[in-house]
């Protein structure tokens, strides 16, 4: 290999700005995903089929199409179909947020349905009414059980957020592409970009691993 690496021309200024945008996207999408995903989970568990069906369709749409298609579709079709244009950052947040909502809804649903029947029986035996059983037994248990999955989904969205660069949101990936073009140093630039994504994701995956190990201990 006779390629000489030259990291000197990589300026961190734009990458730093890009990372801030990426973190903003991730945070906003996670707020939508964590709150909206919960409401969505309740809706897809509705015993009324007419209520359940459209929301299940919503979830399956996001789970069964590539995120990049969702982003492009959002960016081009939503303004045309609904006559709204919200700016690329808002559109990016909504596309990523809705995607995360769908995945988190499934995480919540699985966790809620995994609460053992016996726990609910114990609640009945203690005289708690149905709402109290949900509020004080089912949801706290389910929420704790879903935290590792929510964190994993959240970090996946952090990585997926790189896709919004193609619709001109100036995130880390977008700044990386610009820098690569300007410096003629794509290998160095994308190496640095990859390391930045890794540096943020890796600690979170370690936390997830720790939480799962701790949970297994608690459940044993």
């Amino acid at each position: 290999m006779n390629y000489t690496f030259d990291f000197q021309s990589i300026t961190f200024g734009p990458l730093w700005e890009g990372l801030i945008v990426t973190l903003e996207l991730t945070t906003a999408a996670n707020i939508i995903g964590i709150v909206g995903g919960f409401l969505l989970a309740l809706l897809i568990m509705s015993p009324v089929a007419v209520v359940r069906m459209p929301f299940m369709l919503f979830v399956e749409f996001f789970r069964c199409t590539p995120a990049i298609v969702q982003i492009v579709w959002f960016f081009y079709c939503v303004p045309m179909l609904f006559n709204v244009f919200l700016g690329s950052m808002t559109m990016g947040i909504l596309a990523l947020g809705f995607n995360l909502m769908a995945f988190n809804a499934e995480a919540y649903r699985a966790a809620i349905q995994a609460v053992p029947r016996e726990q609910i029986d114990a609640g009945i035996a203690l005289g708690l009414n149905p709402l109290q059983r949900i509020l004080y037994i089912v949801l706290p248990t389910a929420f704790r059980a879903s935290i590792p999955v929510l964190l994993t989904n959240g970090i996946v969205i952090f990585q997926q957020s790189a896709l919004v660069a193609i619709v001109a949101v100036q995130d880390l990936m977008y700044q990386g592409k610009t820098l690569a073009t300007e410096t003629y140093r794509p290998i160095e630039t994308f190496t640095v970009v990859a390391l930045i994504y890794f540096a943020v994701s890796f600690p979170v995956t370690q936390i997830v691993g720790y939480l799962e190990r701790r949970r297994q201990l608690l459940m044993s």
Binding site: P116, I124, L126, R144
Partner: protein
């Protein structure tokens, strides 16, 4: 109320799971105040279902239950709704085989949840009662521990304390020592015997014949969804009249003929 008026009166209870599995086939049981009824019998004979019905956890096909003279559970037929009076249900406490403590709450929080939420008791007063109850059961130091940090025997004693926080008029124990390591069975049975000494009416399903003999004021042998034999422990466990009871007792005690 006179001493002879029944505390529990079950009339002609029928219960099935699906069209083919009939678990209770016309069960009649009367229980007087202060009685400690131990229900024994083969698996699938309807013992646990009986307790779960009594706790209002299961629908019934038909029959009725009255508690302390008040109508509690009733259903006309398999197609009608089972009517359960939730106020009456609140005077009954139950402890399950698998502890069923709430894992996200500490021991003391497990104890005070229902008193505070169901009866609107002040937190300070519930905590005081809870702590006192834990001290009585030798668990005073465990108030702030979480269920995962307790042994099976400790969990089960906490579960008993939790049920007692609501001052039940009747306690149901569904195989509460079956999931325990043998060396932990004693500490749980001691707590139940302690309650028995205070004349707490109870209905107990157990496979532990030593415990049955020690705690029962009356033993019911239940098989095939009906009461086969019903009498004082010396009779049902010692010299049963019915052949099915005798077979069961012999098998439990591993007596070979």
């Amino acid at each position: 109320m006179s001493n002879t008026a029944p505390l529990v009166k079950m009339r002609n209870l029928h219960k099935s799971y699906g069209p083919h599995v009939q678990v209770l086939k016309g069960l009649d049981i009367e229980m007087k105040p202060g009685e400690r009824v131990v229900v024994i019998g083969p698996s699938g004979g309807g013992k646990s279902t009986l307790l779960r019905v009594m706790m209002g956890l299961e629908k019934i096909d038909s029959g009725s239950v009255t508690f302390a003279g008040k109508p509690y559970i009733s259903s006309e037929s398999a197609d009608t709704k089972t009517v359960i009076d939730t106020d009456v249900r609140r005077s009954i406490g139950m402890v399950f085989q698998h502890y069923t403590l709430f894992p996200h709450l500490s021991v003391l929080q497990n104890l005070i949840l229902a008193p505070c939420k169901v009866r609107g008791e002040k937190k300070a007063s519930a905590m005081q009662r809870g702590q006192a109850l834990l001290e009585r059961f030798g668990l005073g130091a465990k108030a702030d521990a979480y269920p995962a940090q307790l042994s099976g025997g400790q969990k089960q004693r906490v579960a008993i304390a939790r049920a007692l926080m609501l001052d039940p008029k009747l306690m149901l124990f569904d195989e509460v020592t079956s999931a325990l390591d043998p060396e932990l069975v004693g500490e749980v049975e001691q707590v139940i015997l302690q309650l028995a000494n205070q004349n707490m009416p109870m209905m107990i399903v157990t496979h532990d014949m030593w415990f049955a003999k020690n705690i029962a004021s009356r033993v019911i042998f239940c098989a095939g969804g009906v009461v086969v034999e019903d009498g004082p422990p010396e009779q049902v466990l010692g010299s049963p009249k019915e052949e099915r009871t005798r077979d069961f007792i012999d098998r439990v005690f591993h007596i070979k003929h």
